[in-house]
């Protein structure tokens, strides 16, 4: 089976400090659903940053969609990033754009015509329950509403990989369940999902998920006891 992402002995160091991630090796396959857990400061966000190509590793190799992602030229980066949906922990919504325009942003960047994006954006707004607030700016939305907009923005382009950093951190349990169902629906359509979370209860919400656990920057306990028995995760180390 062709992998979508392959990490081999990856290390990440910020500046001259000690390594935030060390010897991380794993393979992600198309259509799989992964949870990434670990204590605060374990390196989850750093690992996700490598996954959504915000950083390049200090060592090791990363292959993405069959290409070497470490030496990827700047000109080719946007093309790869358009295949990856990201839900940032701090949402990173564009403050001067409405909820509707924020959700439409990835499609506009990809050059989709206005007439072709109005329908999907409306559908997405309905789905996250913010149709009435489509014209609201992020500053006027609650934390949970902003998070929903961020998720809608990440999934609207039907990415091949969806990377979500604590996507349910600011929403109520009911909304959290609905968002996870959206992720599961996307997963069934073939999108590889990676969700970083502290919330171990979420893991039981979705069938057939696999778990990765980071401990002090090292990938450990890949078949861990949080899920019993987990599907075998394809890991190199």
């Amino acid at each position: 089976m062709q992998s979508v992402v392959e990490f081999d002995n990856v290390g990440l160091r910020y500046g001259t400090g000690s390594e935030t991630l060390s010897d991380v090796s794993f393979t992600l396959y198309p259509g799989s659903f992964y949870f990434l857990t670990g204590a605060s400061g374990a390196g989850k966000t750093s690992l996700l940053k490598l996954l959504y190509l915000a950083h390049r590793p200090s060592r090791g190799s990363i292959r993405m969609f069959g290409n070497d992602a470490v030496t990827l030229s700047r000109e080719r980066l946007p093309g790869f990033r358009r295949r990856i949906g990201v839900v940032f922990q701090d949402f990173r919504l564009v403050q001067h754009l409405s909820a509707r325009d924020n959700i439409a942003l990835p499609l506009r960047i990809a050059g989709i015509q206005e007439k072709d994006l109005a329908g999907p954006v409306k559908e997405m707004l309905n789905w996250i329950g913010l149709s009435e607030r489509a014209d609201a700016r992020p500053a006027t939305l609650s934390g949970g509403e902003q998070q929903r907009v961020a998720i809608a923005r990440a999934v609207i382009g039907r990415p091949e990989i969806l990377v979500a950093d604590e996507p349910t951190g600011n929403v109520d349990p009911e909304m959290a369940r609905r968002l996870l169902q959206l992720f599961a629906a996307l997963n069934k359509l073939g999108t590889t999902i990676v969700v970083a979370t502290h919330d171990i209860h979420l893991i039981n919400e979705i069938e057939d998920t696999q778990m990765m656990r980071l401990d002090k920057g090292r990938l450990s306990d890949p078949t861990g006891s949080l899920r019993n028995p987990p599907k075998p995760l394809v890991l190199k180390s």
């Binding site: 001067h96 960047i109 990809a110």
Partner: protein, 298 residues
Amino acid sequence: MLLDFALPEHERKLIPEGRVSGSMPWVIAIMTFLTVLAASAGLIMLNATQQGSDDIARQVTVQIVEPDPAARNAQRDRLAEMLKRDDGVSQAEIVPDAEIRELLIPWLGEDIEEANIPVPSLIDVTLRESADAAKLDALAAKIRPISPSAKLDSQANWIAPFFALMNSLLMLTGGILLLLLLATSATVMLAVRSALNTHKETLGIMHMLGGTDVQAARLFQRRMALDALLGAVVGFVLAAVIIWILSFQFSAAGSGLLTGASMPWYGWIIIALIPLGVMGLAMLIARRTALSALRNIT
């Protein structure tokens, strides 16, 4: 690049457009105002120099220095007749004695006639073409058999230092235009860098969502182009009004040296293109600055 300028509205919204509120259009207005004035001064000087040098280079004065008034007048009349028939001469006019006396009175006093001073006779000659040394020699050779003491005086000789000054001023104007060009470029560069800094967060998000450097640069390019066009038009209009008023004053002065000191027709076209040039320059500098700076944003 012009197609980049016409961005769809939704793409324009990515960077909020706070024109007029910023100082950039007003700085550009001042730069354009100075550029248009400097360019106009250069064009007027160029026109005056070209026109003046053409006219003056064709002007020659024949001076007949003969103590005997009767012989002097006879030589003058024969020379005038000969010059009028010459193919290389378009006009030859005897300067009336009264006019010569008028010219000399400030130096020799009212009693010039009583003093019995031998005043030379003068013939103003306009050649068909500019007088170079060879032409003057040929003309002198024709004059000498009629009046051996006659002297040819080309007006180009005494006016040469004036035209040398005009050429120096033209070069100075060129230098000033170059400096204004550099200052305008630097202004745009600083404005783009400042705008990039302000919108760093939005640009970072765009990049993470797969936006390219060119897409982001286009936004700044468009914004700078609009700011520059607005400022350039304001600067141009103010400068054009001043040039128009000065043109009237030059015409009213009517001095011989200022005869050609007016804006040539093509000059108005050139200065009208300056605002468009400023806009084009702003777009180019904005694009290059943005593309260069965006490489440092992930």
